[in-house]
Symmetry: C2
Subunit: 365 residues, 2 copies
């Protein structure tokens, strides 16, 4: 059974779907691992380390001509063409079913496992790349905020006087938001946090941040622990009530995402105008339209004296650890997909396990 690890080709992508450490474990199970030459270079994993771990180096065609393809980013049509008709795709799709990517793979006869569809159960947690990558994203986004802010994050007492700690507001207390809170707290900032899901309050407090409480008249807790979209009325109430808290912030890290929906607007232009010049907004929802309407995806802009960071791929800025976590997530998943048979590893029935069954893409209708 062949496993393929190609070079990721999306612009700015530096991660790789598997690392030498994990390849060694896969090879140890009797799997034949084919790594495209240079696949791990940008993440700090040289070809030689994969070879030493038991992988065979190959070209792009070789890495795609496999039984099980491990990918990070959404494939393009040339990638799909290079895939084997009886192969399995295992990776992110970055699709909400509104394009022909999945149909084109299914039409070939492939089986497609979408990492976005990982169930949010405790058994599946160790396989959840959305969670591991969001964690890294929240860390790195907060470093970006600190590096772009013209003042100290921590309180400083010096012989030339003291500097107050930065006032940081984190919007959205999911995995990315909680790690943003933790990182800003590590750096000594005064941190406030808001989430539409009331159950996050305890987690915010446990990280040493102050929860911002708003009365919206409804809860934003949705399925599987994700947030759901609020009514128009509640949205307006939320923006108004948040305004004063946000205008006082020196740094805002926004992480509010609703799967397959535009990101909610939480930081209005009126709020940006009220912020002190030199303040920073890092909008982790930039790829989904942004939590601030002034955010420009993949750009860093200045509006009303405020720096607004719209980078969309923070894990790619921490590629060694992001790839390591990603690879371990996939290893944990592969372990429930494969049994060791008489003549080597054998694929189990993907419909039989609730995790792989939930991830399997099926033809529409």
């Amino acid at each position: 059974m062949k496993i393929g690890i190609p070079l990721e080709t999306r612009p700015g992508e530096t991660r790789v779907a598997s690392t030498p450490d994990v390849v060694k474990k896969l090879a140890g199970k009797g799997l034949e691992v084919l790594v495209e030459s240079g696949a791990g270079a940008r993440a700090g994993y040289p070809d030689g380390d994969y070879e030493q771990a038991g992988a065979q180096l190959t070209d792009r065609a070789g890495a795609y001509d496999v039984d099980l393809l491990l990918k990070v980013r959404r494939p393009d049509s040339a990638d799909v063409e290079a895939m084997r008709p009886d192969g399995i795709y295992l990776g992110l799709l970055e699709s909400c079913g509104d394009d022909d990517l999945v149909p084109s793979m299914l039409a070939k006869g492939m089986r497609v496992l979408a990492l976005e569809r990982m169930p949010r159960t405790s058994r599946a947690q160790s396989m959840d790349v959305l969670s591991s990558q969001s964690n890294i994203g929240g860390y790195r986004a907060t470093l970006e905020a600190a590096a772009r802010y013209g003042r100290f994050f921590p309180m400083m007492m010096t012989s030339a006087g003291s500097a107050k700690p930065a006032r940081v507001v984190v919007l959205g207390a999911g995995v990315a938001g909680l790690q943003a809170i933790a990182t800003a707290r590590r750096l000594g900032a005064d941190v406030y946090a808001y989430d539409v899901r009331p159950e996050t309050r305890e987690q915010i407090l446990s990280l040493g941040a102050k929860p911002i409480d708003l009365d919206l008249g409804e809860s934003g807790a949705g399925e599987g622990g994700y947030a759901k979209e609020l009514s128009e009325e509640a949205k307006a109430r939320q923006q108004a009530a948040l305004g004063d808290e946000l205008a006082k912030a020196h740094v805002i890290v926004t992480t509010a995402l609703i799967p397959c929906r535009p990101a909610p607007v939480l930081v209005t232009e009126a709020v940006v105008q009220r912020m002190r010049p030199g303040s920073v907004i890092v909008d982790l929802a930039a790829a989904s339209g942004g939590n601030c309407p002034l955010t420009v995806a993949d750009e860093i802009v200045e509006r009303h004296g405020v720096t607004i960071v719209g980078l969309t791929n923070y894990p790619a800025l921490v590629p060694a650890d992001a790839s390591a976590f990603y690879a371990r997530n996939l290893l944990n998943l592969i372990e429930i997909m494969i049994a060791s048979g008489e003549s080597g590893p054998e694929l189990k029935d993907l419909e039989a396990d609730e995790i792989t069954a939930a991830m399997l893409m099926r033809p529409a209708g």
Copy 2:
């Protein structure tokens, strides 16, 4: 008595020699403060705030045509031409007496106070810009290291496994080095530090870092708390003994500077070759030749898989707080320079106070 605050024009400089807060205090002493329009803009201090603080906005010529000129960076010849012959220059000179800057100012009849010559006494501490700016530099340089490192600084325990903390080595435990240690510790890194001055050992320990002890056969403690240059023999012994510690590091922050001497080579090319790919060296001595011979001033380069950051002006990346500390240092200094006389503020005898006497530049020979 007129005080001038011009726009700093060195490439990449964003700081300003005074802030609205401090201008208010200067104006309160009866001093006439002239601020060049736009001087504070890049540091987050708009013109209107200076006006409100009691300053008068002016053009470049107006900001230079003053009794007391407050500067951050070394002036160029056009700046010197714009200065008043009976005026006082108060700022950094960035000179070791090997150029005609100071002679040209003295030839005009000006008095020149060099901030580099601030005595390292406890009375002068609140006026010491080298110290306040090094503190900011150490903080910001460590953020740069964290942002460019492909892994987490803190230890991370996640459901996808754990990440070990980064191993950070700080070379030189002066003000910048101590703040680099503190910042790396805040971010959860495992920090080791080395300084040629044995008395720094306690400070390193008190910040939660591990001192690296080397036996060089001589001490590197020099005048005024600064390091002095070692003998060739001791330098070779130092490089060899440090090598093993440095090769194990994931991140090196080097801050070893000797006033008016080339920076000592502490991280040799052989050490860089031994470091793990993806490691980061931030060389705060880049402007003085670097503590690593591969460092390129004002550039970020990759050598042997290691990112080497040669930025030379970290305080300019934290311009609001860097300017605020700088301005307060100058305010503290101005307070010992000026007495309130019958008809307003009067300049005291600069030779009479040990601090201003030490700072006054005198003709050579």
